[in-house]
């Protein structure tokens, strides 16, 4: 049974309750960000992954977190937390408090920890991920790389360059398309002609599809995809259909109330709740709530990050 220990979040248990706990942790953390922003305690912006937590949890748990490399994007909090569970490091980073994973320089869109990297330029990270996967292959580490891309990001040509090279050279990389059907405010039909998954196929890349509404099934598919990438040392493409429940960043949601209501019906958290024992559910909920509440409290008590942060003075910056 799930315990409320602070690192239940990084256990390797792959059960419904474990996934639920991780997803709920992400959900709560994201909600905190929106609230902190509303309270004026968060400078800048955030793109929350509310509604898409299952994709983060199910895919990241299919990886070998000791060695695999992850590249993510503007909507990275879920991937980050599923990877390392470092709520405080993330909160501090976004809130500009001491102990942020990038010393407050990166902020929400530019996160780094261990083998986890993000950037705020849509698509540009794709060839970086291919290069990283190639490095792992050349070094014989057995690791693979995974890169998360949104449906809108599939508009960038560099993604196709990357798929071509990955397939041509047998690079062990998993392209994960998180297809929430929207890019900022633009629905997928106004972004793309044809079908996104078959685009990957034409590069000779094997594709997998799954729905985030069923996290365990998605996880099984991700495990298969990851296994293929690792064993065959070649790319795979996993299209995850999911829904963004919240706004793009803060208040910028132009979708209709009906559409949002429809999307709420597809909330994978609610779906998982039905599968769990009510008592266990409450226990997890309490544990997660407590975890996030304490983390926020604790991080808000930390001093603002000091201005002599090393990142700013390295190399060229010393001039």
């Amino acid at each position: 049974m799930m315990t409320a220990s602070p690192n239940f979040f990084t256990s390797t248990d792959q059960t419904a309750e474990h996934f639920y706990a991780q997803m709920l942790l992400i959900r709560h953390t994201e909600q905190q960000f929106l609230q902190l922003f509303a309270q004026g305690k968060l400078n800048g912006t955030v793109h929350t992954c509310i509604g898409q937590e299952a994709s983060a949890v199910a895919v990241v748990n299919a990886l070998d977190l000791q060695r695999d490399v992850i590249f993510s994007n503007h909507r990275a909090h879920g991937h980050f937390l599923a990877y390392c569970g470092d709520v405080e490091g993330l909160l501090a980073e976004v809130l500009g408090r001491e102990g942020g994973v990038c010393g407050g320089i990166g902020g929400t869109q530019h996160l780094y920890t261990r083998n986890f990297y993000t950037n705020g330029i849509q698509g540009g990270i794709a060839p970086c991920a291919v290069g990283a996967a190639l490095a792992e292959k050349m070094q014989g580490s057995g690791a693979i790389a995974t890169v998360f891309l949104g449906d809108g990001t599939m508009g960038q040509g560099v993604v196709y360059e990357s798929m071509n090279i990955a397939a041509l050279w047998g690079v062990p990389i998993l392209f994960v398309l998180e297809d929430n059907g929207i890019a900022q405010t633009t629905p997928k039909q106004q972004e793309h002609a044809g079908d996104l998954t078959t685009r990957a196929q034409t590069f000779g890349i094997q594709t997998f599809t799954a729905d985030s509404f069923d996290p365990l099934a998605l996880h099984a598919t991700a495990v298969a995809a990851v296994g293929m990438v690792r064993q065959q040392q070649c790319p795979a493409f996993l299209a995850v259909s999911c829904y963004r429940l919240g706004p793009h960043s803060k208040g910028d949601d132009t979708r209709s109330a009906e559409e949002i209501a429809m999307i709420e019906q597809r909330d994978p958290l609610r779906h998982l709740e039905l599968q769990l024992d009510p008592q266990q559910l409450r226990q997890i909920q309490q544990a997660v709530e407590e975890r996030v509440r304490l983390a926020v409290e604790q991080v808000l008590e930390r001093p603002l990050v000091a201005t002599n942060t090393t990142g700013l003075t390295i190399g060229r910056g010393e001039e």
Partner: protein
């Protein structure tokens, strides 16, 4: 005097009027359709008014500018929006090896009336890839103009001039200027005039002192930095330091240097302030030209201020430290003044 427009209102109005006046004007960009109207709302209302000529695009900045190049070659007047100025790197090839090349390399037999609008600048906590001022990379590119109105320019008028131009223009907007009101006339404490009112992209001269006096210090700046000036001029006025600020809207090519050199020689003390980093920045060229024209006439070296040479951090206190502030400029002025 009637209430001045904000920058975003002025730009929005200019786009509306340009589209109404000329059916060749087409507008492109990511998420620019109503009701959203673009990340910074400059295109708000446009797609409702001109549904056939306003296009929301996929996320592909290279092709956005590439398409605009093709439209421009074939008789249209495209205005492309890049959501953040940082993404202009993705359009660098289309700007440099296509837009700026076609008319000249085809021996002047085609025109390329392209405008690429994009917001630059920090101060909003968006972090390293959403806060830069990269326009300096495009300054000095032959056959390409870089234009950046300040709050003392009529931004909409500058945009109309860019749209009317036969050659490609990178049109820099500043995120922090959008909500600010333009200040186009003199006030009790601030003299506003255009050095060259008839120029395509005129230069503003601001003074915190009356006629008959000469300035103590000359400040040359552009774009977003202008937001500091109303307060700065007031503060300096309180300190009885007479400041003359010159604010060109054309960052590249630079406007004729003579009036700037005359002003610099007159005060003998010059500060150049820009929002981006100073090394190889816009101000480097300006400084080099001023020195060339003012040999022996400057009392002290020109002081250039800009962002610290590093990434622009997300955390507010770090970002404040890296970016130029009113205080940075004030200190530079006090430095040359002393």
């Amino acid at each position: 005097m009637s209430q001045m427009l904000t920058n975003v209102e002025s730009l929005r109005g200019a786009l509306h009027n340009a589209m109404a006046d000329d059916s060749a004007v087409v507008v492109f960009g990511e998420d620019i359709l109503d009701p959203y109207g673009g990340a910074f709302k400059v295109t708000k209302g446009l797609s409702t008014a001109f549904p056939q000529r306003v296009f929301t695009t996929p996320i592909c900045e290279g092709s956005i500018v590439g398409m605009a190049n093709g439209l421009a070659l074939r008789g249209m007047r495209p205005v492309a929006e890049l959501m953040f100025g940082d993404f202009i790197t993705l359009a660098a090839d289309q700007l440099i090896n296509h837009a700026a090349k076609f008319p000249a390399m085809y021996n002047g037999r085609v025109t390329l009336p392209l405008v690429v609008r994009t917001p630059m600048g920090g101060g909003r906590g968006y972090g390293p890839t959403h806060s830069q001022s990269l326009e300096r990379m495009f300054c000095g590119v032959p056959h390409l103009s870089v234009v950046a109105p300040s709050i003392f320019h009529d931004a909409g008028k500058s945009l109309r001039a860019a749209i009317a131009s036969a050659q490609p223009v990178v049109f820099i907007e500043n995120k922090l200027l959008y909500p600010l009101r333009q200040q186009l006339h003199s006030t009790a404490t601030l003299q506003h005039e255009f050095l060259d009112a008839e120029a395509e992209y005129p230069t503003v001269r601001l003074r915190n002192f009356g006629a008959g006096n000469s300035p103590d210090v000359t400040l040359i700046t552009n774009g977003g930095i202008s937001r500091f000036l109303p307060s700065l001029l007031q503060r300096l006025s309180d300190e009885e330091i007479r400041l003359e600020a010159l604010i060109p809207a054309s960052l590249s090519p630079l406007p004729p240097i003579a009036p700037f050199a005359a002003a610099a020689a007159n005060s003998g003390r010059v500060v150049i302030a820009e929002e981006g980093t100073t090394s190889n920045g816009w101000g480097a060229e300006f400084a080099a030209r001023l020195y060339e024209s003012c040999m022996g006439k400057l009392a002290c070296p020109i002081v250039r201020v800009g962002a610290l040479p590093t990434v622009i951090p997300a955390a507010k206190q770090l970002e404040d430290e890296v970016l130029v502030s009113e205080t940075t400029i004030l200190n530079a002025i006090l430095k040359v003044f002393s």
